[in-house]
Symmetry: C2
Subunit: 334 residues, 2 copies
């Protein structure tokens, strides 16, 4: 790989002239510039970032840590983040923590050792000492979708709790009194918030809180659901706290030949492709997924440009109830 001095030698000038041409740092005489550009092209010079960074130059790379890149929700976030960063001249070092705190910790360490300019993360667990350390090294850090536990940092979340409350209220207004909340046993921040929102709505309406905790595997979902449906008083509506669970509920209701929304109404948190393809179409709470990623990048970039700002910001993005057919509203087309 050719270096600056290689180029300088060929062009018959000093290293600094070459450096200045490459970076446009300062004006160089036209004749020098010509010679340098010629030599540059001739050897196919590519700057060595490692050397620049070692010299203290900021690395134009942002780190992004998500729990699972194949999950459409995270993938959309990541994509939006990446695009925003790219527009601002940054590349994104993306990594999946596979929902594992240990891996997450290793990843942050590597990112710090690579001197990324900043890190955004959808934290996987509750232990977040590693993020605290990142912050101590002076690297700005942002959490999205879920807040950090102990670390005080810029945060972006959606209005999980009020949204869940509102969705539940919508079902209540349809006259439902026995509404089942289907959630997962393994509770992350967002899931907990949604269950809370559901519970609040039910309590306010003086209705019984009924939560069915599913155990990761879809097999268990059918059992759990069967059980809940048999229990009296009879459930007449279901609030599924995410798209995966919603699909599970949908399949099970079909298997049992239970009509939606007539026998059981359904609202899901998270919009998903199939929601408009199945009949009836599914009423959902839609999250501004791409916005989450976009804004996270924006906040991080803002931190980089204003290192002085101290207070951690918390941005709450608004979700939207997309009324379709499964909640029992007047049937619409498409």
């Amino acid at each position: 790989m050719p270096t600056l001095s290689d180029v300088a030698k060929i062009a018959g000038v000093g290293v600094m002239s070459v450096s200045r041409v490459v970076n446009g740092t300062r004006r160089v005489s036209p004749s020098t510039e010509r010679k340098v550009r010629e030599a540059l092209r001739q050897v196919g010079y590519v700057p060595n970032e490692a050397a620049r960074i070692l010299k203290g130059q900021p690395a134009h790379v942002l780190g992004l840590i998500v729990p699972d890149l194949s999950n459409p929700f995270f993938a959309t976030c990541a994509n939006a983040f990446h695009e925003t960063a790219w527009r601002a001249g940054y590349l994104t070092l993306m990594a999946s923590s596979f929902h594992d705190e240990e891996v997450e910790s290793r990843i942050t360490e590597i990112m710090v050792s690579r001197r990324v300019a900043g890190i955004a993360a959808i934290p996987s667990g509750s232990r977040d000492d590693h993020f605290a350390q990142v912050q101590e090294s002076g690297i700005p850090i942002v959490s999205l979708d879920r807040p950090f536990q102990r670390v005080e940092a810029d945060t972006l979340v959606v209005d999980n709790r009020p949204a869940a409350r509102f969705a539940t209220k919508h079902l209540i207004e349809h006259g439902h009194r026995n509404i089942l909340c289907v959630a997962e046993a393994e509770m992350t921040f967002t899931k907990r918030e949604r269950v809370e929102g559901y519970s609040e709505a039910m309590r306010r309406a003086k209705l019984p809180v009924r939560i069915s905790l599913v155990d990761g595997l879809s097999r268990k979902l059918s059992d759990q659901l069967d059980l809940a449906l048999k229990t009296r008083p009879k459930v007449s509506a279901v609030f599924a706290i995410n798209d995966v669970l919603a699909v599970g509920v949908l399949k099970q209701l079909r298997k049992l030949s239970i009509a939606i929304p007539d026998e059981i109404a359904l609202i899901a948190f998270d919009d998903f492709d199939a929601a408009t393809l199945v009949r009836p179409t599914i009423t959902v709470v839609r999250q501004p997924v791409a916005d989450l990623g976009r804004k996270a990048a924006a906040v991080l970039l803002d931190r980089l440009n204003n290192p002085k700002r101290i207070e951690a910001s918390e941005i709450v993005l608004k979700t939207k109830l997309i009324v379709r057919e499964s909640c029992g509203c007047s049937i619409k087309k498409e």
Copy 2:
């Protein structure tokens, strides 16, 4: 940020002892090790990768370029790639080219300047001089899903053409004689191959090749499809060359109240979540998506471990026809 010599000073030993402890390069006396570890912890030392790389150490980072990270197909690939790389001790510098050759070119340049160990790409266009240059810099490079045009490099693809032929044949065996192939006007390698496979099957059966070219936007799809369906002789089956088009076809057939598979049978290339949720369920050609990413990483890692190997490998992964209801086979449950 503390450096090696900071640590050395505190521990009261030489820099190399610290380096050796950090990297486990060689045995160090227990007493020294203890002192060093203590100092390491005390200052929270994090190695500076930039310096290591500048020293000629290999960068444990792989580059991955995909056209769009929010697309589930690419996201799944990326995730599998990332996981395989991670297991081998590599982080992945991921970037989306946004289907743009220009961006792709810029990205490769940055990756080279960051001295990634290798690059895997789903190339966006036909111009691939930039990839040629990467290869010339001695950085191994792999293409997945689509081959490079001019560059000779390791390649991973699926058996698009035979698979499309086989799917079409399946429809022909159901007695269909007028089968429409729905494709996009903007043809990538994979799309072209699939259309070719369809055409081959039709020609071999001495049946008329009928291709409907849709123009990106879904609005156009409905028009195109309406037109094709009106044309005589009447279409009795549709082969959609990807999931997006399949969903479009599905929606349009529903709008026109055309029964699947009785009036029109349907097979799609690409499996998708909704395919098992809609009624009837959709028969599809399933690609080994994760395998594509996994194997790409494996091939790249293999290159890194065996720099001598010269010949470019081409691996063709096998797809599978998943028979469900929309093709007209005996109706099954679930």
